[in-house]
């Protein structure tokens, strides 16, 4: 059991998401930085998609009822344990996480996994619709989380290097890219406070759509949509499944983890690449995780 002594700013149970229900209007949810969740799980000997804790901006304090093996990955939340490698934690010991020193999210995986009931095949919390995780909500003080028996191999002896952060988010052209000019790529965008797991609202010079009428259509994870006010929104893990605004670009799969690490007031630029290039980056990134599996 893990006892939640302090929940932090917004801590949820996450796995790799709830796929196969898009046609019912349910987006996949899952870890905002799936790379870090997978790494933390692999480090403790879990399957890469086991349920773990996703902490946001300020981490929580957790007391373990029994000796456990845990790992932290993602942003540095100022914990007295090394990141990106497994460590032991004693029964009764408190694991204290503080405020972030780098990006938005830090993942805590425990050997055996966090054991919550699966909803529609996944442990992932979908906050917007109160689905999955622990009662569909963020953790609160006093919550108790059982530890499961998901471990499949001994904890790793090695560490992995955290992924290098790029200076720009790399994107491919969106389905309505031709509605817009080049200005999207020429400027730096600010991440606003109104950003969450559903989407990241950006602020900058208003983009103008030169053409186009479109019908509401399905939207992809990482799509950059442009509403009439010209301020782009990156659709994220809890996105609405369909939308009627044109999409200028789509963040590449290899950079979705970096979107999960953006904080309000961060600045971000976009670089357009081809789909072939995007897939090359993704395969390179997978290579890093292979050393653990």
């Amino acid at each position: 059991m893990i006892q939640v002594v302090a929940p932090g700013f917004q801590t949820t149970v996450q796995d790799l998401g709830r796929y196969g229900y898009g046609h019912l209007g349910v987006s996949a949810s899952g870890a905002a930085d799936a790379f870090s969740l997978r790494a933390a799980n692999l480090l403790v000997g879990n399957p890469e998609g086991a349920a773990a804790l996703e902490m946001t901006l300020v981490g929580g304090t957790f007391v373990f009822e029994r000796d456990a093996v845990a790992a932290l990955a993602g942003s540095d939340f100022g914990v007295d344990h090394p990141m990106w490698e497994p460590f032991e934690i004693r029964a009764g010991e408190a694991l204290r996480c503080g405020a972030t020193r780098s990006g938005a999210r830090c993942y805590l995986a425990v050997r055996g996994g966090v054991d919550v009931p699966l909803v529609m095949g996944s442990a992932s919390t979908h906050l917007m619709t109160a689905l999955g995780g622990l009662a569909g909500r963020a953790l609160r003080k006093g919550d108790v989380l059982p530890i499961g028996n998901a471990a499949v191999r001994p904890p790793a002896h090695t560490t992995i290097p955290p992924p290098a952060m790029q200076s720009a988010l790399r994107v491919t052209a969106g389905p309505q890219a031709e509605f817009f000019g080049r200005d999207f790529y020429d400027v730096e965008w600010g991440v606003t406070e109104e950003s969450n797991r559903m989407g990241l609202r950006l602020r900058g010079p208003a983009l103008e759509a030169h053409s186009g009428r479109m019908l509401t259509e399905g939207v992809s994870l990482g799509a950059v949509q442009v509403p009439p006010d010209g301020q782009p929104i990156i659709l994220f893990v809890e996105h609405q499944t369909t939308g009627g605004y044109p999409k200028i670009a789509n963040v590449i799969s290899a950079d979705l983890h970096a979107v999960g690490q953006l904080r309000p007031r961060d600045r971000v630029r976009f670089d357009r690449v081809s789909i072939e290039t995007a897939l090359r980056f993704l395969r390179e990134q997978e290579g890093w995780l292979r050393v653990l599996a």
Binding site: Y19, G20, Y21, G22, H23, L24, G25, V26, A28, V119, M120, M128, T129, A130, L131, G132, T172, G174, P175, R213, M214, L215, T216, E217, G218, V219, S220, L221, G222, A223, Q240, T241, T242, G243, K247, N250, V251, I252, S253, I275, A278, L279, L282, R283, E286
Partner: protein
């Protein structure tokens, strides 16, 4: 039919840019066929398109596009079975439908006339989207089309039946919303612990029945 990449992990299959039952049936036929195609992670049908998501490490987009093309060709031959007709009981007006009076006033007709028009039409569930179980319905009489609220409500109760422009819909879960609420249904449109979790499905016919 056109198939093109929407991202490095999704393909957009489109059947033009009109909202019509004939186009809808093409979408529906394809959606019924696609679960047999390996490598698909999620399907998002809409009025005239289907977004197909896949894991790019396991599935090659060009190969998947070819499989989708084959599925669409085979689907064209298929006849669709008679759609289900779902009756949705609605308590119109009062606390359940706080905007009914406003909608009536906007059109200069009595509230009973709004109810009569809304509940006499035969609706088609074009697709579920936006939020879990939310039906995009076609078929509302233009005579009761009403602009959205200038300020969306922070919380619309689950089951609310509402009009937004020339569309009508039902909020399956409590959520913010800017449509005008004219009634509420006691039916549960979305329940994650039920199988299937949704009450309505793409292609269903629907009628509202005043309580």
């Amino acid at each position: 039919m056109k198939i093109r990449p929407a991202s490095d992990h999704s393909l957009l299959v489109s059947f033009g840019d009109t909202i019509a039952p004939t186009v809808h049936r093409q979408v529906l036929r394809l959606v019924r066929r696609l679960p047999g195609v390996p490598g698909i992670r999620n399907l998002n049908p809409a009025y005239a398109s289907v977004l197909v998501s896949f894991n790019p490490l396991e599935t090659d987009a060009a190969e998947l596009a070819a499989r989708i093309g084959e599925a669409a060709a085979a689907a064209d031959e298929e006849s669709l079975s008679e759609p289900r007709l779902i009756e949705v009981p609605v308590e119109y007006g009062g606390d359940a439908g706080p905007d009914l009076e406003e909608v009536a006033k906007f059109h200069g007709i009595p509230p009973t006339e709004v109810v009569a028009l809304h509940s006499s039409a035969d609706y088609l569930v074009y697709f579920l989207g936006f939020s879990p179980g939310f039906p995009y319905l076609g078929g509302m009489p233009e005579a009761i089309a009403t602009p959205r609220l200038a300020r969306p409500r922070r919380q619309v109760p689950a089951g609310s039946v509402a009009i937004g422009g020339s569309q009508t819909g039902i909020y399956p879960v409590a959520s913010p919303g800017g449509w005008r609420i004219i009634g509420r249904t006691p039916l549960e449109l979305f329940n994650p612990n039920r199988n299937p979790p949704v009450l309505l499905g793409i292609g269903d016919r629907l009628r509202f029945v005043p309580l």
